[in-house]
Subunit: 312 residues, 2 copies
């Protein structure tokens, strides 16, 4: 039976899993640390792939979810903040040489969107807007059952849309991007700034302050913590209104750790979305859901990528 | 030989033209006023279609470029500011009944984008961002050789993205949309406001002041007029940076009357785009062009729509 080998290169771990053609349950899976002194990253990924390689089944393809930016056509990783030694690194060609099968690569947010569309919260929908909110804000878009890639494979950078031209600087250096207003670090920065300005709160400006701790404080009624999520949700709703005017999706899916803060973020987001949508018809039958695949979104997105490329 | 009948419903005129399958030169064309006391609009459109109906050739389809919002799947015009009597009006089904051929409908900006992509400035490109700047700002997007429609056919409303959350009100009622900052009326409003505040200028706040007059004054060195285009261009560049982060197009095409003001608008737009783009790779080989089809974009877009629907 045909098999598909998938790899998900995450910030802390790299995972690999092998699927048979009609299943989303892996027959083998394995993981390793992304950062290790124990050999070059490419060699460790290759070893991981060998570990999950099936004994009998014929492997049709290897597919990889990687942090970007990258070029999905050539399989070259252009640059990724987390892996400085990979700059213009031809990961796809190198793996194809080594294993003798086609290799497909796309960025993690795109593949999470693809995975959720084919196997998760977006199953059965044709126009999907996916946002992952954690340390950064990433995006993936399905337009009429096709993954939006763009001419250079660099599209769907939904965290890097300007929401507030005079707003705080984004990790990318530009002012007022959505990522600078509604990601985990943006929520933490707001709390720090308010504490420094003398705001009362149970929270302390300790170096390890996290969005999760702020969510917990908000759950216990802390006013500053609630305000931080209120503001992030309002900006998220404002940006989402523009994205809906652009894509007119049938479903919006939220992934990433910050999305797990639930109504704390989504109540103000929805109120803001209703306020800023310019025609109510855009909200007719618009589903808003949280991601269903959890940590497996990258692997299952890579599986979907290979199957679509091979038209299975 | 097969023929295609196309209709373009504009603000002042309705045009119809018939094309043979391998040509973009119409064998017949005719136009009439959009507004007239001489019978219902649908009847006048039907008469116009009869006028251009070919004697011998077999008509494969009628296709219509209409102001929106409309539902391209059902052919129903939901509402259009310019034609108040058409509310939830089943234009497609009515024409299909009357003429016994398939009828395809989409909104004017989408079809102008489609026309430019297939026959005009965007020929040979696969990922096209089209913006028309005139009384309003409309958009059309080609993603990997497919027209972006959205789940309800309401996507690509690129004039209705928020650029400045505390900015002036848009015609749609929302604050700070691109249309409220860079359309013709937005440029006029800025000049009026500055004149009212005492700015020196050769321009007078007469009721008929137009963006074209302001462009002419700018060409003669009027500082206020130049400032108005400078500001509109800057906002346009800011919005375009976000749209490029979202779509990663290979070409951006500008249509509409205000685009004909040339470098007055595009020099500040390009400077602003370079400032706000978050990675220079997005600008590699990015073509920026003005539309090539002029007033024929709607008819040729409708022609492209019918041919694509019929897979020719």
């Amino acid at each position: 039976m045909d098999a598909y080998v998938t790899v998900d290169i995450g910030g802390t771990h790299i995972r690999a899993a092998t699927f048979l053609r009609d299943s989303t349950q892996p027959i083998k899976h394995q993981r390793t640390s992304t950062h290790s002194a124990d050999g070059a990253l490419l060699d460790r990924i290759s070893t991981l792939i060998e570990t999950v390689w099936p004994e009998k089944e014929k492997v049709k393809a290897i597919s990889v979810a990687s942090p970007g930016p990258l070029d999905p056509k050539s399989g070259v990783i252009l640059a990724t903040p987390n892996i400085p030694e990979w700059r213009d690194f031809p990961l796809g060609p190198k793996l194809a040489d080594r294993f003798g099968v086609p290799v497909y690569i796309d960025n993690d947010a795109n593949l999470a969107a693809l995975g959720e569309w084919r196997y998760g919260a977006g199953k059965g929908y044709h126009d999907v807007l996916y946002l992952t909110i954690s340390t950064g804000i990433g995006g993936g878009v399905i337009v009429n059952d096709q993954l939006l890639r763009g001419a250079r494979g660099m599209g769907a950078e939904l965290g890097h849309v300007t929401v507030l031209p005079d707003g705080p600087l984004c990790s990318c250096g530009q002012p007022g991007h959505l990522e600078a207003l509604a990601s985990g670090p943006a929520i933490v920065r707001f709390v720090r700034e308010q504490l420094a300005a003398g705001a009362q709160s149970a929270l302390k400006a300790n170096p390890g302050l996290t969005a999760r701790q702020i969510a917990e404080a908000a759950g216990q009624g802390d006013a500053l913590a609630r305000q931080a999520f209120q503001q992030a949700g309002e900006y998220l709703g404002l940006a989402l209104a523009s994205l809906i005017h652009i894509f007119d999706p049938s479903i919006v899916i939220f992934g990433g750790g910050v999305s797990q803060s639930g109504r704390l973020l989504f109540d103000p987001m929805k109120a803001s979305l209703r306020k800023y949508i310019f025609h109510p018809a855009f909200l007719n039958n618009l589903a808003i859901k949280t991601a269903a695949l959890g940590d497996d979104a990258g692997l299952l997105g890579a599986l979907a990528l290979a199957k679509m490329a091979l038209k299975y």
